[in-house]
């Protein structure tokens, strides 16, 4: 992607694009095998020793498990420079990790959304900050 250096996440530690690929930042518990997103959203299996939690990046691609189309602007503190409504919100499944993650759907004809379609993690440019950086969030697009 172009200009990756001039982007900053609105909230850190959720999405990584340092390798050139956009990937969600998860954590895995090596004791109970559960993946968490965000990393601090612990969801251990009851009785788990909670030992060996490590940071992991999720795969770039998953499948659309559900979606909705949002017709009114999301209220503050959500903020985008350009009007994005109506926008899709997807629940994308990373099958091996047994986790589904929500995200805004970009660059997609909303009429073509279908459960089961392949999706790729991407970035949504929300607005430009005072340092002239593009403030971004994670998002998904149809492959």
């Amino acid at each position: 992607m172009e200009n990756m250096a001039n982007k900053v996440a609105r909230i850190p530690n959720l999405v990584d694009w340092s390798t050139g690929e956009v990937r969600l930042m998860s954590a895995k518990c090596n004791s109970c095998g559960t993946y968490f997103f965000p990393k601090e959203h612990y969801q251990h299996r009851p009785g788990c020793s909670r030992e060996g939690v490590e940071d992991v990046l999720l795969p770039t691609r998953g499948k659309l498990a559900s979606y909705t189309i949002q017709y009114y602007p999301c209220p503050a503190p959500f903020k985008t420079e350009k009007k994005i409504t109506p926008y899709g919100i997807g629940l994308v499944e990373f099958a091996d990790e047994k986790i589904q993650i929500t995200g805004i759907i970009t660059e997609t004809d909303l009429k073509t959304l279908k459960i089961g379609m392949e999706m790729e993690t991407t970035l949504l440019e929300m607005y430009t900050n005072e340092e002239k950086q593009q403030v971004v969030t994670w998002a998904f697009k149809a492959v």
Binding site: R45, P75, P77
Partner: protein, 393 residues
């Protein structure tokens, strides 16, 4: 454990945003409950108060503020928050205090003035509070969560847009007959189906807004007070449940959920209802009417399944066959539900209990469920909070 009865209830009617002081709404509800029970304030031996989260220090100590209005008597006052199941927590604490013999008569109340618009994040700490992430990064108001689950349901079962609209048609018919309801207009199927999408597949009339309201319940084991009460209502069980590991539901404020189910959907409500059935020795087949949390039309359907009134994917048929109408096998939300009231966080679970209680006391006029002897109130709260109350006469 002693038998515990509801002897008095009071409601401040549900309405939109108000500049009035929340404790004044609470006082209206509590006054109503005292008059209904025909007792003096000094008979109240404990207050279990639902807190008003947007009310700052006053709201967080709502029990103390209420007590100061009616006169301070030195009794235990406990303030509790369990999101939309706050009222369930307050009545459960009142019940437990009395059943265990700590007190004879207690008051549970909640009063809430919802802010204008949406209920958004209450902190700015993204590490501790996922609400911050979902609002700043996710673009995820509450109804999106319901829409994502609704779409899954429509893909998995044969739930149709007509089913979702039919829920509103029924709720509006009952709400129009309820003096406490905020919305009293009735809607036809066409009108609901022609309303705009908020988050497809959910339309404007298929989700509930935020509201203002207050509710109060007086419970007792005092034999004299029970004897003089107008149709006292027995509490057979009042329970709280939390979520279970592996629940596949995408929970409000979460950014993720498990993709492989190892627990039932809405497991907090599954848990609360099963605890109540076991404690009461009463099962779904014994319930004459049900008040469930229809935050959206999806909730109306899924709650019938979660609470065991039918199998998974069978609720649509119950609805279409008229089984959930007043006069049907299991009247659901004869009050008009959240659809006709909107959410008033700390008060809504108590209002559901009061509707059940009023039905059992034969006070519901045009929307009365004839011959109702056993009723159940079921709540749903943010982040895995739920309560079930089973009542009988």
């Amino acid at each position: 454990m002693r038998d515990v009865y509801i002897i008095g209830t009071g409601i401040h009617p549900w309405m939109g945003f108000s500049e009035q002081v929340f404790a004044d709404f609470a006082a209206v509800a509590v006054d109503g409950a005292l008059k209904d029970a025909d007792i003096e304030w000094q008979k109240i031996q404990a207050i279990m108060a639902g807190i008003f989260i947007y009310g700052g220090n006053a709201g967080h100590l709502s029990g103390q503020y209420l007590e100061s209005i009616f006169g301070e008597t030195g009794i235990p006052v406990v303030n509790v928050y369990n999101a939309c199941a706050t009222g369930s927590a307050s009545i459960r604490m009142a019940y437990n205090s009395i059943a265990a013999g700590e007190t004879d008569t207690a008051l549970a109340f909640g009063a809430d003035v919802s802010p204008k618009g949406f209920l958004t994040a209450k902190s700015d700490n993204a590490v501790q509070d996922r609400d911050v992430i979902r609002w700043k990064m996710g673009g995820l108001p509450n109804p999106i969560y319901w829409a994502l689950e609704c779409r899954k349901r429509m893909e998995k079962y044969d739930t149709t847009e007509e089913d979702l609209a039919l829920v509103k048609v029924l709720m509006s018919e009952y709400g129009s007959k309820n003096a406490h309801a905020r919305f009293k207009k009735t809607y036809s199927l066409e009108e609901v189906l022609n309303s705009v999408y908020v988050c497809d597949p959910l339309r404007l009339y298929e989700i509930c807004p935020v509201s203002t309201g207050a509710a109060a319940v007086i419970v007792t084991a005092d034999k004299e007070l029970i004897a003089k009460a107008d149709n006292p209502v027995k509490i057979n069980a009042t329970t709280m449940g939390s979520a279970m590991y592996g629940d596949p539901t995408i929970r409000i404020s979460a950014l993720s959920c498990p993709s492989v189910a190892e627990a039932p959907m809405l497991s907090e409500s599954y848990s609360a209802s099963r605890q109540a059935y076991e404690k009461a020795g009463i099962g779904p087949e014994d319930i004459d009417l049900l008040e469930l949390p229809d935050n959206s039309s999806w909730h109306y359907l899924v709650y019938l399944e979660t609470c065991g009134f039918c199998g998974e994917g069978e609720a649509d048929k119950m609805l279409r066959d008229g089984l959930t109408k007043i006069g049907g096998k299991l009247p659901v939300n004869p009050s008009g539900g959240f659809s006709s009231h909107g959410e008033a966080l700390s008060a809504q679970a108590l209002w559901q209990v009061i509707e059940c209680s009023n039905q059992l006391r034969g006070r519901c006029g045009e929307r009365q469920v004839e011959g109702a002897k056993v009723a159940m109130a079921q709540t749903y709260g943010l982040m895995g909070n739920s309560g079930t109350t089973i009542l009988s006469v």
